[in-house]
């Protein structure tokens, strides 16, 4: 039980899963990392490189059903009471997501002139990702038992989640096909340190009144969990010790995969911009230390019933149950698909300041406009319905070397998500900081979603760019 509590805690504290929506970074081309959200982003600095390990640090987490405060508030209410009310107020569609990315190295350079160029960017980042749905029915059963739920069918399909650590080596190109259109693509090689996936579960447990016995009680279970790189912890109940080996595994796991990002920027008019990207079309083949745990079968529990006409005893109910729904372990390879992310945006720019001697020093981004407003759409595949977020944004060049983007985002986590990003440069030194759900900073413990991105780069413009 203690392990479950620790696991639960870990999930809550450190897990904000696959939200991964980087609505502030997206198309914020003053920051080179915006190319990671759209390989066809309008970035054309002469060259840039990130400060190793400091160029891109991002973390985000979200919970649709409840906040840390709901469960851990230090308010004298019994923890079990709080847990009960959290479980009562959530559904199996509520989820916890966690994503952390750490850029290890990154860089890029332009081949050719500004009006006809190919841009090359490359790097490596490490990522931990988790997505867990609230297993509502199994939790209800564990908390309360079935006594008050005669007639209810508990859905075992509520058990749904995945978690993984991957490192990504990537190489991207984008090219301005003509004055209006930029196309880009990025190839990725994934290496997976560990993976745990349990997404295709089904089954039920029910208890209903019966004529022959007190109850009709049936368990139908079709549960399975795929894991790689974790058997040592699961089978031997070994604690996670960290250390060099674990670190090595997290950064350069033994399992390989391939992926592709595609994107474009299209300017039908000088002050109108459309962009779009599809990220992580790809898979990872898990071949090392893989295990599939299954829990499959049907058990119709009648009770311990004598048969006076047949005196041979049975094996016993506990034994019958274990025989009917055995826990099997299979060592076999499996493949996981990466969660695919789709971004799209529309931007209208205004307040042309080119006459004023001001310049937009970051890319050709909408030429000399000082302000931009627009909308963005984000979608990500999940084991259940896709995650969708809609963002309205306002961009402004505050100073020659200081750009700002403010966002308002609506998604299943929050309707009041206001974000702010700033990117500033002093010479070649470039720094950015982005945070969302700023209103939640009034009380962080009640926040249901938070994301933060931070990084330092060196960006070199053309001499005439200054």
């Amino acid at each position: 039980m203690k392990y479950i509590a620790i696991l639960w805690l870990t999930v809550l504290v450190s897990v904000n899963m696959l939200a991964q929506n980087k609505q502030i970074l997206y198309n914020f081309t003053a920051v080179p990392q915006s190319m990671m959200t759209n390989p066809g982003a309008d970035v054309s600095y002469k060259f840039y490189f990130g400060v190793p390990f400091l160029s891109g640090i991002s973390a985000n987490m979200g919970s649709t059903g409840f906040s840390a405060y709901d469960l851990f508030a230090d308010n004298g209410v019994d923890f079990n009471t709080k847990l009960q009310s959290v479980v009562n107020s959530t559904t199996n569609k509520d989820k916890l997501v966690f994503n952390e990315q750490l850029e290890i190295v990154t860089g890029g350079f332009r081949l050719g002139e500004r009006d006809n160029y190919t841009y090359v960017s490359f790097g490596m980042y490490q990522e931990i990702d988790a997505l867990i749905y609230v297993p509502k029915d199994p939790l209800l059963l564990a908390l309360n038992g079935n006594q008050d739920y005669i007639g209810k069918s508990f859905n075992l399909g509520d058990l749904n989640g995945r978690a993984e650590a991957v490192s990504v080596l990537h190489l991207g190109f984008h090219k301005n096909i003509n004055e209006k259109l930029i196309l880009g693509a990025r190839g990725k090689i994934y290496t997976s340190g560990f993976n745990a996936t349990t997404t295709n579960n089904s089954g039920y447990i029910y208890t209903i009144p019966s004529n022959t016995s007190m109850y009709e009680q049936v368990i139908y279970s079709d549960l399975q969990a795929h894991t790689s790189g974790l058997s040592n912890y699961i089978d031997n109940e070994r604690q996670f010790e960290g250390g060099k080996k674990a670190l090595q595994k997290a950064f350069l796991g033994p399992d390989l995969g391939l992926g592709l990002d595609l994107g474009f920027t299209y300017n039908p008019k000088e002050n109108i911009q459309w962009t779009g990207s599809v990220l992580d079309i790809g898979f990872i083949s898990h071949n090392n230390d893989t295990k599939i745990y299954t829990f499959k079968g049907v058990y119709d529990y009648q009770g311990v019933n004598p048969d006076f006409n047949n005196t041979s005893g049975t094996g016993g109910n506990f034994q019958d149950f274990q025989d009917a729904i055995p826990l099997d372990t299979i060592r076999t390879k499996y493949r996981t698909w990466r969660p695919v992310k789709i971004n799209a945006s529309y931007k209208y720019s205004f307040d042309d300041r080119r006459g004023g001697g001001d310049c937009n020093c970051y890319g050709d981004e909408n030429k000399g406009y000082k302000n931009g407003v627009g909308a963005q759409l984000y979608m990500m595949t999940t084991p259940k319905t896709p995650l969708v977020a809609l963002t309205g944004f306002y961009e402004r060049r505050l100073l020659t070397n200081l750009n700002m983007k403010a966002t308002y985002t609506v998604d299943s986590f929050s309707y009041t998500n206001i974000g702010l990003g700033l990117a500033g440069s002093i010479g070649a030194f470039n720094m950015y900081l982005m945070g969302d759900n700023l209103l939640a900073y009034r009380d962080l413990s009640k926040a249901k979603t938070l994301s933060l991105q931070f990084g330092i780069n060196f960006i070199f413009q053309d001499k005439d760019g200054e």
Binding site: M214, Q217, F318, L398
Partner: protein, 184 residues
């Protein structure tokens, strides 16, 4: 000069963002150690339904029936360790015109009797005889119950109006267990 003021501006904006007062209500993650699950589970215990003709074999009455079944739920240490209380509920319906004694005998692995529950069932004179009985195991009696490994059933038919292979009625027993768990 202009550059300097730019730097100052950038720094002040970044500082402002960093220093924006943010608060957090007090959280206490240690309270998860208080986690205590208290599920109450109902389940079938045992049931049988013996028709009157089954008490007659070749024209001769069988007055005693006995049967032992394995009862292995307490082999599961998790269940055994977290069980706080068990209630057994029995509903017996007799529609046979004979008195019966039903004995439920619990044995440990050495076939020692752990507990025995006896029901005296009056004969049905046209109307069904329904007996409902509840037995609760707690503390010492629960510890005793946890030793159970087998369950024996003895039905004794007491003297009365003779039965034939076409006699009507049956002796029916339904029972359930309500188990109270406390899981830390």
């Amino acid at each position: 000069m202009e550059k300097k003021s730019t730097i100052r501006n950038i720094l002040s904006v970044l500082l402002l963002v960093f220093l924006t007062p943010s608060c957090s209500s007090d959280l206490d993650f240690n309270q998860s150690e208080d986690l205590l699950l208290t599920p109450v589970i109902v389940a079938n215990l045992t049931n049988f339904d013996v028709p009157a003709p089954d008490f007659v074999e070749g024209g001769v009455e069988t007055t005693v029936a006995f049967e032992v079944e394995n009862f292995d739920v307490f082999r599961d240490t998790f269940f055994r360790d977290n069980l706080q209380q068990a209630d057994f509920l029995f509903v017996i319906t007799n529609t046979i015109d004979r008195d019966y004694v039903i004995e439920l005998i619990l044995y440990d692995i050495f076939n020692n009797v752990v507990d025995s529950i006896v029901f005296n069932i009056p004969a049905s004179a046209g109307t069904p005889q329904v007996i409902t009985e509840k037995k609760t195991y707690q503390n010492a009696s629960l510890d005793q119950l946890k030793r159970t490994d087998k369950m024996g059933f003895r039905i004794t038919m007491l003297p009365g109006t003779p039965l034939t292979e076409s006699s009507a009625g049956s002796l029916k027993l339904k029972s359930s267990a309500t188990v109270y768990m406390e899981i830390e």
